[in-house]
Structure formats: structure tokens, C-alpha cells
Symmetry: C2
Subunit: 137 residues, 2 copies
DNA sequence: AACTAATTTAAATTATATTTCAATTTTATT
DNA sequence: AATAAAATTGAAATATAATTTAAATTAGTT
């Protein structure tokens, strides 16, 4: 969480148009996992000249630049989150769709180890847990 | 690996048309992770009257019946595998696209535990490791 | 064999994402 | 500040994956 997204874009040499600034700021201040449609809605509320094509282009650009992480929870829509955060994985409540973030160092280390055993250097991973809330008695 | 896919379909009360039998058999005897297009190619080679719409419908039906597992490795195409196998996760070679299957009980147990700590009963998970081969000296 | 309901094909449609291209905006240069 | 070159934009067209429609066929039942 060192620099803002706009700052990181400049470091990467990306032109900061107003559209990109708007989208960057939305993601900066968001704690959920919006899809493109939702980003477009939020961006339009700030600057209604932004087109959805630009939102698609921008998230793709940001993803390729390592500024955003793309998430896919299996419903066909890609979701995005700020990549400049402590790494974490996701637990998805299959009843409500709610997404809970978590970190577990033990599981992170195990993944490295498993990859090594298979002769690979781990470059990334995707871990999603799907569950239902435990009912309290 | 107790029954064949066809047998499991019958248990579930699904009608076994010739198209479904062909698709079931392909998946039964496959050790890779074909997408719909690839299943369609293989099915057409056996019975060239099968349409791609049927392949789409069949994999969806099979998935909903718990006969197939749907995999998404982030390239936009869904892949399928026989669900009636020892549970395993996947390591994807990001250079070659090769998919390696693995099982690690420690990581399985950890996932249960993490879900419990968050107040959830684990119903499923998706773990994919992405890596590059370690070069031998 | 006839009947009913499910399934099939082929085409049309939907949903998500990407690309095209003229117009505009940005950045670097003067 | 004005200018030129290059990148970005919006709107529409296009691409791609998946689903649905409707008429025809097939499976399972009587």
C-alpha cells in the first residue's frame, strides 16, 4: 500500500488520462470485488463520458501492468481488485455470494513446497474456498 | 472409479442417448482436460452428427449432476474432467500449458480448518498453482 | 406399434470481451 | 503558449463462448 494507483501508473510510464484516474481511484477506495459493469456504473457516476470500452481496456491494461488482479469466481464475469495489497485468498459464501478475504502463511508455504516437489518454481496461485456459514446453536 | 459415467448417469436417472454415451466415454478414457471445442472434435470423430450445442448442453448437465468437474484456468475456455476420481488439484506450467495433477492431504486439511475459523463449513475449493519448470544444473 | 415427453440439430440469440477507426487528448518539443 | 507526434478515447462493429429457440427426432412406456 505504498503508492496510490495513479503513482504506480506513472512509475510504469502509463499515461494518466482522466478516465484512468477515475477508474484508478474507484479501485483504490473499494473493498469489494467489482466486475467491469459495476466499475462502469461507478465510473459513470463520476464522469459520464467514460465508455464501457475504456473500462474494459483500462482493467486489461492495469492487469497487464500488475496494478490490478483479475479474479474469476466461476460466474463468467471477471472481477478486479487492487494488486498492491497484502496477498490474500478468498472464501466465497455460496449462499449469499459474499466474499471473505483471508491469509494463511502455512498454506502459502505449503504451496511453494508442493510446486518444488513437482519440479516447479511457483509463480502464482489461485485458492478459493467455497462454503456455507456454520449455524450457531 | 467405481462405476462408469454411463452407469452413474443411469443412477441419476439421466436418459442415455447415443450422444451422451459418446461424450461420457470420451471423458471416461481421457487423462487430459479438454474444452468443449476439443470434446466436440473427439465426439465428431466417433459420431459426426453430434452438434456442438449438444456438447455444451451435455457438459452442463453432467456438471450439474456431479458427473463432471468444470475447470477454469483463466484462458476463457472451460475445461472438463471426470468427477469420479480421487480429488486432486492442478499445477499449470505457464510456459507450456501442461497441467499436472497433485494431492496433498495437509493442504486439504488446512483448508477445512481455515474455513472453520472463518465460521464456514467448507463445501468445495479450487486450488491452482501456476509455475515454471526448475532448470536442472 | 403408438404415444408422450425428453432430446436433438441448426440457427438465432445472449453475454462478455475485444477491436476498429475517426476524433480527441495527452505529452513532448519548440 | 503554440505545435507536432503519438497515444487514447467513444461508439459501433466484431469476436468468442455459451445458451436458447423451435421443429424434428428419439427414447422409454403402454
Amino acid at each position: 500500500m505504498s503508492e496510490t494507483i495513479s503513482e504506480r501508473c506513472e512509475i510504469k510510464g502509463l499515461r494518466m488520462t482522466n478516465q484512468r484516474k477515475v477508474i484508478a481511484e474507484i479501485i483504490e477506495n473499494t473493498f469489494d470485488h467489482p466486475d467491469v459493469e459495476e466499475l462502469y456504473n461507478r465510473a459513470s457516476a463520476i464522469d459520464d463520458s467514460i465508455s464501457i470500452a475504456t473500462v474494459y481496456r483500462t482493467v486489461k491494461l492495469f492487469e497487464e501492468s500488475g496494478i490490478l488482479d483479475k479474479l474469476e469466481f466461476g460466474d463468467g464475469r471477471a472481477r478486479y481488485e487492487n494488486a498492491d495489497r497484502e496477498h490474500h485468498d478468498h472464501l466465497i459464501d455460496i449462499n449469499s455470494g459474499k466474499v471473505i478475504e483471508f491469509v494463511d502463511n502455512e498454506i502459502e508455504e505449503l504451496q511453494e513446497l508442493i510446486a518444488l516437489r513437482l519440479g516447479y518454481e511457483l509463480r502464482g496461485h489461485k485458492l478459493e474456498l467455497y462454503g456455507v456459514p456454520i449455524k450457531k446453536a
